[in-house]
């Protein structure tokens, strides 16, 4: 076994090009567990924690780019206004884990339970990959996360980060687990309204081989808001039954399985509850804002 310690992005890309089998390691919160338990013995590891270019973010207007090396602790401290991202970051592990775990780690591990992934999906994020040979390329999140712990990154590529348009409406991230800390999501849900585009976004974790969106539920809700005039008047009442009908459509988008963390039936139930809650929070928040202004 060997560990490569690049100090710059250029060095890291050159190493990944010459040794494409090298496995990237950053916070180690997934990979070190595999190594400690002898479940993985990568021949070559490439440590990305010294590559400063990865550990930054920038906001150009409403376009946010978050580098793969950004830890959850830094996302919480530095981008609290990105509410769903902040809520998801806060739900990661414990203080020790949030100091190490990175957005790029969630992407690279590609677990359907990755806490930040529903947030990226709800924002239609692009994953930015980079290689020495071809430079940068952007891939929509759903073309990047292709299966359980499978991505479309090529062997000579590193994850540079993710990019998305920040949304102006209410948003939330919720997660069900056995306690508030150190929990792998039994289900997770990110909900966001985009009043400018008059669309709703809902993304789910731990209920399918990858994070999934619920497009039919989103279209149903956008149309229901249109009919009831909610997009134009945030104080307008949402017709009775809308919340429940939306949640049923969210549940229909899931393909949960029974596993050690929960049964498929429980996951469907939890998704229904989270979807209703998230929608009620968002509607309430818009109505309150309308009243105040």
């Amino acid at each position: 076994m060997e560990v490569l310690l690049p100090r710059t992005l250029e060095e890291a890309l050159a190493m990944k090009a010459s040794t494409p089998e090298a496995v990237p390691i950053a916070g180690g919160t997934d990979l070190m567990v595999e190594i400690n338990f002898d479940h993985a013995r990568p021949e070559i590891l490439i440590d990305l924690t010294r590559v400063a270019e990865l550990a930054s973010w920038r906001l150009d207007g409403d376009r946010l780019f978050v580098g793969a090396g950004m830890t959850y602790a830094r996302l919480l401290r530095e981008l609290p206004q990105m509410r769903a991202l902040a809520e998801a970051s806060r739900s990661v592990g414990s203080p020790q884990i949030r100091n190490r775990g990175t957005l790029g780690g969630n992407l690279g591990t590609a677990s359907p339970a990755g806490d930040s992934l529903p947030v990226l999906a709800a924002h239609d994020a692009e994953v930015v990959l980079i290689s020495a040979a071809r430079g940068e390329r952007s891939v929509p999140w759903d073309a990047f996360l292709v299966g359980v712990k499978r991505t479309s990154a090529r062997p000579d590529e590193l994850i540079l980060g993710a990019r998305w348009r920040a949304l102006g409406g209410p948003q939330s991230f919720s997660k069900v687990g056995t306690r508030n800390a150190m929990v792998i999501a039994v289900v997770s849900l990110c909900f966001a309204l985009d009043p400018e585009a008059r669309t709703a976004r809902v993304a789910l974790g731990s209920v399918a081989p990858t994070v999934v969106r619920a497009p039919e539920a989103e279209a149903f809700l956008a149309a229901a808001f249109e009919d009831a005039g909610v997009w134009d008047d945030p104080g307008a009442p949402v017709p009775g039954g809308t919340v429940e009908a939306f949640a049923e459509r969210v549940v229909a988008a899931t393909r949960p399985i029974d596993d050690v963390r929960g049964s498929a039936a429980y996951r469907r139930h939890a998704v229904r509850v989270l979807a209703q809650r998230a929608l009620r929070w968002a509607v309430g928040e818009r109505a309150t804002e309308a009243m105040v202004s």
Partner: protein, 157 residues
């Protein structure tokens, strides 16, 4: 592979298997067994140390990642036989039973109080969410944090 790191103020070298964790290097190569090895998956916090000033589980840090970096362990807290005020508070409050989780908790509590001298109980529980104790039920640990916070406000450290 040979790594060089600053541990508790002193530059040290260790010859480690490249897949070793920082915890292994501290305990087995550098003679610092204060950080405990329990879950090896970041769940229990008994291996908690500071890496470049940040609280981390040393079992999840590759030893090579600590090369040319600064590590501070629980051993840095006491001076000879004189315990750190957080350690004193743990003893006084009865927050130590079997003692296995204590080093990690003491480090996490010290980290918390260095950042926030007056945490409320929710902040304490949140800050210690990554440290498991299977003996005390946590009540005495929360008491110990209150006691240590009081001492810190009085200027004990």
């Amino acid at each position: 592979m040979l790594i060089r790191l600053r541990v508790n103020g002193e530059w040290r070298e260790a010859d480690v298997w490249p897949g070793s964790s920082l915890l292994f290097a501290l305990r087995e190569e550098l003679g610092l067994p204060g950080s405990k090895n329990a879950c090896e998956q970041g769940e229990c916090g008994s291996c908690t140390v500071w890496l470049d000033g940040e609280l981390v589980c040393s079992c999840l840090v590759l030893a090579a990642q600590a090369h040319e970096r600064t590590v501070r362990t629980v051993e840095s807290l006491s001076e000879g036989d004189r315990l750190h005020p957080v350690q004193e508070a743990f003893l006084e409050a009865g927050a130590v039973q079997c003692g296995f989780c204590t080093p990690g908790l003491v480090v996490a509590v010290t980290d918390l109080l260095e950042r926030d001298p007056s945490p409320d109980e929710l902040a304490v529980r949140e800050a210690l969410a990554g440290n498991l104790c299977r003996c005390t039920g946590y009540a005495k640990i929360v008491d110990a944090v209150g006691l240590a916070a009081e001492r810190r406000r009085e200027g004990a450290w």
